[in-house]
């Protein structure tokens, strides 16, 4: 028994340190201010009233009346209820589209190497579409030019050769998105570059032919380009 007691004392001495002096003093002071709490601790209400008495001008009756008032808490809805309830099951509002990130692609996260099969598919599509052996060597190339203008460029390996803004020159990559005014390209450093079409000249290769696109004349949405009839111009300005 004595051993157990001594063990306990040992444990207590190791684990429980006495309070620092400052803390002990403040606690004693506080208990003094509050009054000895052991007196009227039958109900919590009494304690509250005892606490509030020296701080307010009110009587005990008024205080008890105040404490008996019921404060209804604010009706806090969970996050699920707070979400905008969609009335239409199928269509999305533009705010929702923006939240989902459908308009903007992430700037990092898409790797250049993973888009290689997409580029191969594009090359196959263009070779089948343009029929280059026949059309490139023929005399009348209008049909070929029409097809190039109407073709789809997602997955094309574009390079900017000439541009009014010198920082765009030399940008090279696979097209991921085409909008009315821009080409969005993933370059070899796995970054998304947004290159405006205006005042830029792009080139791309298919087997042994190179093609140039004048960005100024391509400022059209890709879907509308499919039905556009391009007029031939005598001179092409940058």
């Amino acid at each position: 028994m004595a051993k157990k007691a001594s063990r306990k004392e040992l444990a207590e001495s190791i684990f429980y340190e006495p309070l620092p002096v400052d803390a002990r003093i403040t606690l004693e002071q506080q208990s003094h201010i509050l009054g000895s709490t052991t007196k009227n601790l039958n109900k919590d209400e009494n304690f509250l009233i005892e606490y509030m008495k020296p701080k307010t001008v009110a009587d005990t009756e008024e205080l008890t009346a105040q404490f008996k008032k019921n404060f209804p808490l604010k009706n806090n809805k969970t996050l699920k209820d707070n979400k905008s309830k969609r009335t239409k099951k199928k269509l999305l509002t533009s705010i929702e589209k923006r939240k989902l990130g459908l308009h903007k692609l992430p700037k990092t996260g898409i790797k250049y190497a993973s888009l290689a099969p997409l580029h191969q598919l594009w090359v196959e599509y263009m070779e089948n579409n343009l029929n280059l052996e026949i059309s490139a060597t023929g005399a009348n190339k209008d049909g070929l030019y029409q097809k190039i203008a109407k073709a789809d460029y997602h997955g094309c390996l574009l390079m900017v050769t000439r541009s009014k803004c010198p920082s765009y020159i030399g940008a090279k990559g696979i097209v991921v998105q085409e909008t009315k005014n821009t080409f969005q390209i993933i370059c070899e450093e796995d970054k998304l570059k947004i290159i405006p079409k205006r005042d830029s000249v792009f080139t791309f290769n298919i087997s042994r032919w190179t093609f140039t696109l004048f960005g100024n004349h391509m400022n059209i949405r890709p879907s509308e380009r499919a039905s556009r009839k391009f007029k031939s111009r005598p001179t092409i300005d940058l």
């Binding site: 199928k90 989902l100 692609l105 992430p106 996260g109 997409l118 579409n129 997602h154 499919a226």
Partner: protein, 151 residues
């Protein structure tokens, strides 16, 4: 890798006709169909390449639908059913859709006995939670598919 997207009529379209002399000529609208075909295949490839960013496939889906509207080309049922109506993402069961089978909702039930036993296959897009519902009817085949079998 190439497969043909059929037009709305039911018979498969031919990309290029052969002339009497053996030269290839183009049918009307063949360019647009080629483009739709390419876009659909590209969206599948893109989803495999970048599975954590399905927003890329929504770019392709949007283009497909708008080109179809501009050139007045109809997408085949098998293609259209795999494009989400809300966000235009490519839907692959398990990857970008949750497919569930549910009992037919009370609002659609008919008073006949057959109507009450129908079930619905519900496709819920994982991105935008837009829902596509197909009534499961074992004996039913689409008009387009019927024509293809007969001709």
């Amino acid at each position: 890798m190439y497969f043909a997207a059929t037009n709305g009529g039911g018979a498969p379209y031919f990309i290029s006709k052969m002339n009497m002399s053996g030269k290839k000529t183009n049918t009307s609208g063949s360019d647009g169909f080629q483009r739709l075909n390419f876009l659909y295949q590209a969206s599948i490839v893109a989803l495999n390449a970048v599975p954590h960013c399905p927003q890329i496939t929504s770019v392709f889906g949007k283009n497909m639908i708008s080109i179809g509207k501009k050139l007045q080309l109809k997408l085949d049922h098998s293609v259209k059913r795999t494009i989400c109506k809300g966000c235009k993402v490519l839907l692959i069961p398990g990857k970008s859709v949750e497919v569930k089978i549910k009992p037919i909702p009370a609002s659609r039930k008919r008073k006949s006995r057959r109507g009450n036993q129908r079930k619905i296959q519900e496709w819920k897009c994982m991105l935008c939670s837009c829902v596509k519902q197909f009534v499961l009817n074992p004996g039913y085949s689409l008009w387009a598919e019927q024509n293809m079998d007969s001709t």
